[in-house]
């Protein structure tokens, strides 16, 4: 696991302690740059951050067009894992990369808690 700047470590710890989570990141939502990360080896943090932020921006516009309000949580399930994201009020994205069989409800709960910590 890589380290995170002091202060954000606690928020990321909430997520990475969930069984099946391979890493967690805080990503600047407007520019897709990594703010803090705790990732297992082999996960390309910068790539995940940039693409997740790009996706979040597009999803935000789609939700706005659909008139369903702001995004609160999204979950992309893939055959070898999952990407789970909660946007914090400040615009920072709280991102988890997880195993395919992770407890999604628990990860969602911890992402929401971490988003509150981040503000």
């Amino acid at each position: 696991m890589t380290t995170a700047p002091a202060g954000y470590g606690k928020a990321l710890d909430l997520i990475t302690r969930v069984r099946g989570v391979r890493g967690a990141m805080l990503v600047a939502g407007d520019d897709g740059v990594v703010v803090a990360e705790q990732l297992m080896e082999g996960i390309r943090g910068a790539a995940v951050a940039a693409l997740a932020a790009s996706l979040a921006a597009r999803l935000g516009r789609a939700m706005q067009a659909a008139g369903v309000g702001a995004s609160q949580f999204w979950h992309l399930q893939c055959d070898r894992g999952a990407l789970l994201v909660v946007p914090a009020p400040s615009g920072t994205l709280v991102v988890a990369v997880a195993e395919p069989d992770v407890n999604v409800g628990l990860v969602r709960l911890e992402l929401l808690r971490a988003a509150k910590v981040v503000g």
Binding site: V27, A28, D30, D31, G32, V33, V34, A46, A47, A49, A50, L51, A53, S54, A57
Partner: protein
């Protein structure tokens, strides 16, 4: 939007970068500001101005780095209200190339541009001719060569 290259080996990496990073304008140039490829520009004057300014910014930051006794800065990003400018250099067998990228904040981001710039740098390094042709630039040829380059860049 069109992508044009004076040196053909730069075209494919540049087209891929533009598509992946959703860049609006891109210039590939030498450290001296000589344009090798461009995407999105419609006027020769804009290309020449942007290249000159981009090369000057790179030269300034390199000098700052030298004063700070550190290696040249890897990249430079200016973020405006709706657009961002990303400037970075890549070492190739052809010599040191400078990339100037303008991106819209509502379709791209610094993260995306940085991410795909890494790929572009690797592609340019792989595609660059191994034996650079060093050619003496004569004053008599300069205007004709400049005109030829602009014709290629804008297909006039």
């Amino acid at each position: 939007m069109t992508t044009r290259a004076i040196e053909a080996w730069t075209l494919e990496p540049l087209v891929t970068f533009v598509q992946e990073a959703s860049a609006r304008l891109v210039l590939v140039m030498t450290a001296a500001g000589q344009v090798i490829a461009q995407h999105g520009f419609s006027r020769a004057l804009d290309v020449m101005s942007a290249a000159a300014l981009g090369a000057a910014i790179m030269a300034s930051t390199e000098e700052l780095a030298r004063l700070l006794r550190q290696p040249p800065f890897a990249a430079l990003n200016h973020q405006g209200e709706r657009q961002g400018i990303f400037l970075a250099a890549v070492a190739t067998a052809r010599g040191r190339l400078v990339l100037l990228v303008v991106y819209e904040l509502d379709v791209s981001s610094l993260g995306l541009v940085q991410l795909f710039f890494e790929q572009l740098a690797a592609d340019l390094q792989a595609a660059s001719p191994k034996q650079a042709v060093s050619k003496q630039v004569l004053a008599a040829d300069f205007e004709r060569e400049l005109s030829d380059s602009l014709n290629t860049l804008f297909r006039r």
